[in-house]
Amino acid sequence: MSEYLFYPGCSMESSAKAYYHSVMSVCKSLDVKLNEIDDWNCCGATEYLSLDITPAYALIARNLALAEQQANGLNTIVAPCSACYLNLSKADHYMHEDKAFGKKINTALAAGGLHYDPGQMVVRHLLDVVINEVGMDKVKERIVKPLTGLRVAPYIGCMLPRPDYNKRYSDSEHPYELDDLLRALGAEVIDFPLKTACCGGHMTQIGPDTAFELIRRLISSADDYKADVLVALCPMCQMNLDAFQGQMNGYFHTNYHIPILFFTQLMGLAFGEKPENLGFGSEFVSAHEAMQRIGVQTPLPDAAKPAPKKPAGLPMPPARARAGQKITIGNEEASK
């Protein structure tokens, strides 16, 4: 049993519940105990840094200070969101490297009765913990249902391998950690050339044209390589590629259909967990068909549900009839 402090981040409680549930399930299977930091706050994403640098770092550092207080012999914070992971490690890094800056942030923390000693906490993403702490041997031991036949695009995104202050990843542009993990689960892993390209980040809310192009590059590349699903490890990446895939298709007049899953959802499946306990069915681009191909029944998307039978009521004009148009009642074919 290994134990870590846990910083879930805001998305895990709202848009990325599928990630939360699958993380919990997978960690249970791997005997990893996660102690949620009590009363943690938002990391500010990339937004506070854009407005006011000192308050932005103070906001992040409050979490580090709470973690240090509640550490109880532990020294590692696990964050499953790439943006949270980077913010926490960035604050620790700069407070440590730039002593005057660290002092300034601590002066702010003191106003709330808190203090953080830079370098005391180690911040790690869940992928890194699974691979380098839990280890691939233990992951392989837990597999009861290999993902044989599932073709996956491993997508790491930006903020995990870059800037990578602690040099935890094999490469800043083409790291192989996620590929190794998915291959161990039995999946067929494509050599995804855009595995660390940008998902568009907050641009869906600021400059949608830019965001749609960045989303298109990733989705079309995964499609070129005939991936069944694309695997993400950040709530923001998953949201952009999944929830905005439809709008992107509309913008470019394309018809891509690449389901976006969290790596923990696939791990959970391979460990024998039921799909409904792993958040399957909450994705916009349904994974039902892709998962069915490997014999896994995930909840049906709304569109594929059998249409309710129309009650045989009074004959009504066709829905598209406009004023002045001849309205055909009953069987159109027969009246022609």
């Binding site: 009363d39 854009s50 103070a58 808190l114 930006c158 870059r162 940008c198 809310q205 400059g207 905005f244």
Partner: protein, 202 residues
């Protein structure tokens, strides 16, 4: 070869000798850690690596040249930092190890403080995001997206597309349309942020 050679001063070495680096230094000082900004060799790797460069009015390389040249107003009015997606490609590829993404954050801070932001779509988004964080201690995605899309003309055109998405967020993803629960230590957090804001102004 008895011709007398008269030595003359070489032509003026240009602005190099009298360079005013105050703007460059100001940006560097406002960036945590050592940004290495003064080390830029104008190679252009940053702009060539940038996924959103096509949306920028100046490439990052040009911005760094403009900082060196003291072109304050032009830099403060530029949309370049606001189009940065924080992907850190430039940062890891820069041969001089300039912390480019962090410099972009500093430029955004400075542009807001000098009231020279030309298009407030991005800065308003940041402000709304942080107003929720200040009031609840947590972010509120649905409220944020709603306010952002309803208050910006260029985004409002796509509101019809956003409705099915918003419904999906509630039904498929099970998101709550209500704001998040406040953290227990919200008062303490407010004190920390207020103090940090004072320190920022110093």
């Amino acid at each position: 070869m008895s011709e007398k050679v008269t030595l003359v001063d070489p032509p003026s070495a240009g602005p190099v000798a009298h360079e005013d680096l105050s703007l460059l230094n100001e940006v560097s000082l406002c960036t945590p850690g050592d940004s290495h900004l003064e080390m830029c060799i104008q190679c252009g790797t940053c702009g060539g690596s940038c996924p959103s460069a096509s949306a920028m009015d100046h490439t990052p390389r040009a911005i760094f040249a403009m900082l060196r040249a003291g072109m304050r107003d032009e830099v403060m009015k530029s949309n370049t930092p606001w189009m940065c997606v924080s992907c850190y490609y430039c940062t890891v590829r820069c041969p001089q190890d300039i912390h480019i993404t962090d410099v972009m954050y500093t430029l955004k801070n400075m542009a807001i403080k000098s009231k020279m932001v030309q298009d407030s779509t991005a800065s308003d988004f940041s402000r709304t995001f942080i107003s929720y964080v200040k009031n609840y201690g947590r972010s509120f995605e649905i409220g944020l997206a709603g306010i952002q899309n309803a208050t910006h003309l260029k985004l409002a055109a796509r509101l019809p597309n956003m409705i099915p998405m918003a419904l999906g967020m509630l039904t498929k993803k099970g998101m709550s349309p209500l704001p998040p629960k406040r953290i227990k230590g919200l008062d303490g957090l407010k004190k920390i942020l207020d103090r940090a804001q004072e320190l920022e102004a110093e």
